[in-house]
């Protein structure tokens, strides 16, 4: 498994490329290294028989076992810590929910320190009744909870030209899945009274960069959530505390974190994040704009890059599938680079706009194998190969790479990222 060195002390300042290589070298001995690693405030080895000694005290807010070391990793290395992506270790997550502490983050001006008592949401522009709402106001309104994936539009952006990232953390780690709680944006817009002619909203964050995105009114009145909850508690600061937009199925960047303002307007505002950025340059020199939907995608998280299978025999292949168009209907797995496919089992319930967990037993004969997964969604859309995407879109689109991922299992059991 992908046991990375945890961030602590000066080691956390090390460029992640170097840190990763160290982690890779230590892979075989990961469990041994984990057992020897001192936990917070405890450097003793665990007792040989834990049933013969009284355990530790209970704590007001539980941390995980000191033997668990899965962590996010920040990249790319040349950017300051306040800017870039913080990748979820997908190979270490189980089921469909991403633990809040491992949910991916993307920041361009750091994580703001916001006092929820002082935070305000302003709704203005083409409305009859401009509104200022406090968190307390919002929490009085009818709320709902929903399990929804988020994926950065730039997830898998490294992989267009060559298999570059070593592990699933860096090929696909800018997606996560969470139970979000909040108020329907449509309810707030109705409270404010949207005027005739209004066709878009502009949402703005209250952080240093003030991420601004224009969103069509039809989506705003459909299923967007103004969320304050994440997996049963308040949002984590890196995920928008105390308030964010949650836009089911649409690229992460429109899910405005630290939400402080919604302006109702007639046309898109062509902000920095939607005019030069988050557009895709096609081979003819024209750039596609407002690429909101995340198309169907899947990835095998075990076995995956930088892992090692100890020897031939039975394994459970597992991974995640998702689609911004609603429901995952089918996931197929190939062990021969896409020549033949078998249906994987989908963990029930499969939820609209959520990660779906798939699993399939596999007997490895010890010979080289190339593992792939392929997702089909409720619209009949089938996750494409990289070659099919590149043929139409070229190599300069940057965003929305939802190609089939290939992992090569070598005869020695080492798993690497390959293009086939």
């Amino acid at each position: 498994m992908d046991h990375s060195v945890p961030k602590s002390g000066p080691a956390s300042r090390e460029p992640s490329r170097r840190r990763f290589m160290k982690g890779g070298v230590a892979l075989g001995a990961a469990f041994v290294a984990g057992a020897a690693r001192p936990g917070p405030g405890d450097t003793q080895p665990a007792p040989d028989d834990a049933s013969k000694v009284v355990g530790g005290p209970m704590s007001p807010y539980s941390d995980r076992s000191r033997f668990e070391g899965a962590v996010k990793e920040k990249g790319p290395p040349f950017l300051p810590d306040e800017w870039g992506g913080n990748f979820t270790p997908l190979a270490d997550t189980l089921g469909i929910i991403t633990p809040s502490g491992l949910h991916y983050e993307v920041c361009r001006g750091g994580i703001p320190d916001i006092d929820p008592k002082k935070h305000r949401l302003l709704i203005h522009g083409m409305v009859d009744r401009p509104l200022i709402l406090t968190l307390e106001d919002l929490k009085r309104l009818p709320s709902t909870s929903r399990i929804v994936f988020l994926e950065c539009a730039g997830n898998t952006r490294t992989e267009w030209r060559a298999p570059r990232a070593p592990s699933v953390k860096f090929t696909h780690g800018l997606t996560s899945c969470t139970e979000w709680t909040g108020v329907a944006l449509s309810l707030l817009l109705r409270e404010a009274g949207v005027q005739k002619g209004a066709a878009w909203i502009v949402a703005e964050g209250g952080d240093a960069t003030g991420n601004e995105r224009s969103i069509p009114m039809a989506k705003a009145m459909d299923d967007i959530l103004v969320a304050y909850g994440q997996n049963g508690e308040a949002l984590r600061p890196g995920n928008g505390y105390p308030l964010r937009l949650l836009v089911p199925g649409w690229e992460g960047n429109v899910n405005t974190k630290w939400l402080r303002r919604i302006k109702v307007v007639d046309k898109p505002y062509m902000t920095r994040m939607e005019s030069p950025d988050h557009t895709s340059l096609m081979p003819d020199g024209k750039a596609r704009q407002f690429l909101f939907v995340m198309e169907a995608k899947s990835v095998i998280t075990f076995p995956s890059g930088a892992q090692r299978l100890p020897g031939p025999g039975v394994y459970e292949i597992t991974g995640l599938a998702w689609t911004g168009r609603g429901l995952v209907k089918r996931v197929e797995v190939s062990a021969d680079g896409g020549k033949t496919w078998r249906d994987a089992r989908l963990q029930e319930p499969v939820l609209r706009f959520a990660h779906a967990r798939f699993r399939l037993e596999w007997r490895w004969d010890g010979r080289e194998a190339v593992l792939q997964s392929r997702c089909t969604d409720e619209t009949g859309y089938v996750q494409p190969t990289l070659a099919a995407l590149v043929k139409v879109r070229g190599l300069n689109t940057v965003y929305h790479n939802n190609a089939i991922q290939s992992w090569k299992v070598a005869a020695d059991g080492n798993v690497t990222n390959v293009h086939v």
Partner: protein, 196 residues
């Protein structure tokens, strides 16, 4: 009893006549000052641009003092993002990646001159979010000047052209018409699509 019936009747009339009357009545109206303090995003029309003006000649000093440490003297520094350069036309030949990083994967340099659609986007972003370490600290005069300087070094306006609330939205960006709507799903349609 009678009072309750009257209330119910009133509620029914209200919801029929005004589908968008507030149902919950939470929150309050913002003051004009509260809206003004946050309503900073500038659309292509230029609506909301404040008084003030600047030229590239004046902007050169602002840029040198507040921007160049990250972006280079003329926005040519690739440390974070190359923002100056007119590599046109945009096609495969002009889009050789400037550098290939394993995490960014090799990407074309899309600059203000080669790619940006609207000069207002530049003004709005500099005003709200720049410089990186002191976001929102430039005066409107400085923002107009820095914007003018970047438009000048990208070959879009002249060194003495005055940028203000009237002229900025009129700047003709070279790639203004270079954008098309989303055309997906363009790949990945099922082979048996006709059956569905």
């Amino acid at each position: 009893m009678v009072a309750a019936s009257v209330l119910l009747l009133l509620a029914a009339v209200a919801s029929a006549a005004h589908a968008q009357m507030p149902k919950y009545g939470v929150g309050r109206a913002p003051t004009a000052e509260e809206v003004k303090a946050w309503d900073l995003t500038i659309p292509p029309s230029g609506e909301g641009l404040p008084p003030g003006s600047g030229t590239a000649a004046a902007g050169k000093a602002v840029f040198a003092q507040r921007c160049a440490s990250c972006h280079g003297e003329k926005g040519e520094d690739p440390k974070y993002r190359v923002i100056t350069g007119a590599s046109r036309p945009l096609n495969a030949a002009t889009l050789t990646p400037k550098g290939v990083d394993w995490l960014l994967g090799g990407e074309p340099a899309l600059t203000i001159g080669s790619f940006w659609q609207y000069a207002t986007t530049l003004w709005s972003y500099i005003n709200r979010s720049q410089p990186f370490d002191e976001p929102g600290s430039l005066t409107p005069e400085q923002v107009y000047a820095a914007t003018a300087y970047l438009l000048y070094v990208n070959g879009i306006i002249g060194e003495q052209d005055v940028m203000n609330a009237r002229t900025l939205p009129q700047v003709k960006m070279p790639n203004r018409s270079g954008f098309v709507p989303d055309a997906r799903p363009d790949v990945g349609k099922p082979p048996q699509a006709k059956k569905r």
